[in-house]
């Protein structure tokens, strides 16, 4: 769960990490009053659950209460990456000497907490790592020993700050580590951590995320601080997503849901043990316009695949379908095929005349292929990569749309394309002669 900046700072404050004076406001009038209290000048910061707010105009300096009022009015109306601005944090201006970076996260390879420190604060740390990795120092922490003072000293010494600032920094490092452990954070980042001109270390910004799986033991203490659990998406689920969720929850076996609604025309029924995301990425990379994201895995019953397929096929705007599974989906190919074909039949769709790119591999694949053959669906086995399947599907959709532009009805276009995509010519054209020969041999 991601926390707002003001919530993150509540935690930092609890752990004694120095912060600028700040007032959380929800109206322009309150902002004006807050700026007045802070001496007539302040930073106005959008409280929003996403990054990039500075670039999006969500952080502004107000030089007077009147200006603060105007800026707050503008910022409160903003949506950044689709996330609404829920409040504004009015903060005192700092007299900045240096902007630093400090974070505690988890190294999944080392299976240990890791802390990173850099003198390149205020910017995206990933960019710094890419351009000049020598500016970032990393320190790993064995959970049995936890934080040790000498490690904090090593980290602070990396930045070569004046003596007092170095000591203050060591203290902040130790406190941030303790916070991260106590609150099960996946990320506790202070960027920038400011060295002021009078030598103080102050956390100017904060970004904390708490491990969702640890919420069962964190929820109560967070609630006590007024921090409530929240969904990680910026918007309410759509009707399609709600129905897909209902369908998935209708039976405990396997997954056929976790759908995300997009406005495109390529319906997707994908399952690949993590490959759903990469296939989805491939669709986008090839210029496709997906109607939805979803996950199918763990061998769901036919009725769940049927429910999902029916939802996807009847989604407004869907013109063609990509069914893509690999062995790691751990789902039987025949059960998935049954669900998809049954949904088509129930919707009055003739599977032989509907544009589908179907790639399936795994247990009971011969049975699955037999079903697809019976209903006239061109299928591909494991010789066709999932990336290549995505490419075929994207090209299939382009053909449908071209035919529509030529003045054909959607149904006519779908019928014609459904036949054409079954030809060797289509596969050769999209994937090249060599690949086409390989993937079509014996099918």
């Amino acid at each position: 769960m991601r926390l707002y900046e003001y919530e993150s700072k509540m935690l930092l404050e609890k752990y004694g990490i120095p912060l600028p004076k700040r007032i959380l406001v929800k109206t322009p009038e309150e902002a004006a009053k807050a700026v007045e209290e802070l001496g007539g000048k302040a930073v106005i910061k959008a409280q929003v659950l996403t990054g990039g707010r500075g670039k999006a105009g969500g952080i502004k300096i107000a030089n007077s209460p009147e200006e603060a009022k105007k800026l707050t009015e503008e910022i409160l109306k903003m949506k950044i990456n689709d996330f609404p601005v829920v409040a504004v944090l009015v903060e005192e201006l700092l007299n900045i000497d240096k902007e630093l970076f400090l974070a505690c996260t988890y190294d999944e390879v080392a299976k240990q907490r890791i802390m990173l420190i850099s003198d390149a604060g205020g910017v995206d740390i990933n960019e710094v790592v890419e351009k000049d990795p020598s500016r970032v120092y990393r320190e790993w922490f064995n959970p049995f020993y936890g934080m040790m003072a000498f490690k904090a000293k090593k980290m602070a010494d990396f930045l070569k700050l004046p003596k007092d600032a170095d000591r203050a920094l060591q203290s902040v490092i130790m406190r941030l580590y303790n916070l991260a452990v106590d609150y099960d954070t996946t990320l506790a980042e202070i960027n920038p951590l400011v060295l002021t001109k009078d030598g103080k270390i102050v956390a100017a910004d904060a970004h904390i995320e708490i491990e969702d799986d640890a919420m069962y033991r964190q929820q109560q203490r967070l609630e006590g601080m007024g921090i409530h659990d929240r969904p990680s998406t910026p918007r309410e689920p759509t009707e399609f997503e709600k129905l897909a969720e209902e369908n998935d929850m209708s039976d405990h076996r396997g997954v056929a849901g976790r759908a995300i609604d997009f406005g495109g025309s390529l319906g997707c029924i994908i399952g690949a043990g993590g490959g759903s995301l990469t296939t989805f990425d491939a669709i986008l990379r090839y210029g496709g316009n997906p109607a939805n994201y979803c996950e199918v895995g763990g061998n769901p019953p036919v009725k769940k695949v049927y429910g999902l397929a029916k939802l996807v096929l009847s989604k407004p705007g869907v013109k063609g379908l990509l069914v893509c599974h690999n062995v790691y989906s751990n789902s039987r190919v025949d059960l998935v095929a049954r669900g998809v074909i049954k949904a088509m039949l129930d919707l009055g769709i003739n599977p032989a005349e509907y544009p589908v790119v179907y790639r399936g591999a795994g247990a009971f694949e011969e049975d699955g292929y037999a079903i697809l053959r019976k209903y006239g669906v061109r299928y591909y086995d494991r010789r066709l990569g999932m990336d290549q399947a995505a490419k075929l599907a994207v090209e299939m959709l382009k053909l449908i749309e071209e035919k529509e532009k030529e003045g054909k009805s959607l149904e006519e276009a779908q019928k014609e394309v459904a036949q054409y995509i079954k030809t060797e010519e289509f596969v050769k054209k999209v994937l090249g002669e060599e690949v086409a020969k390989k993937v079509l041999e014996g099918l």
């Binding site: 036919v302 039987r332 049954r338 049954k342 049975d367 037999a370 079903i371």
Partner: protein, 66 residues
């Protein structure tokens, strides 16, 4: 009736109806008036695990319709 699988049961040859209901992992059988019957809406869930046939070889038969 299933689109992909047809399951037939002869209640006269499978007397212990409850046992058949218990044995099927995908709920294809039910008991009606003390006799075992096929739940048609679940027929397509058949995974060919064969447990029903092993339990009552004379009375249960499933056929792939493809």
């Amino acid at each position: 009736m299933g689109v992909f699988v047809k399951v037939e049961v002869n209640p006269e040859k499978c007397k212990e109806a409850e046992k058949l209901v218990e044995i099927c992992p995908v709920d294809i059988f039910a008991v009606k008036d003390g006799k075992v019957v096929v739940v048609e809406e679940n027929e397509d869930e058949c995974t060919f695990c064969n447990l029903c046939v092993q339990y009552c070889p004379e009375g249960v038969k499933y056929t792939k319709l493809y």
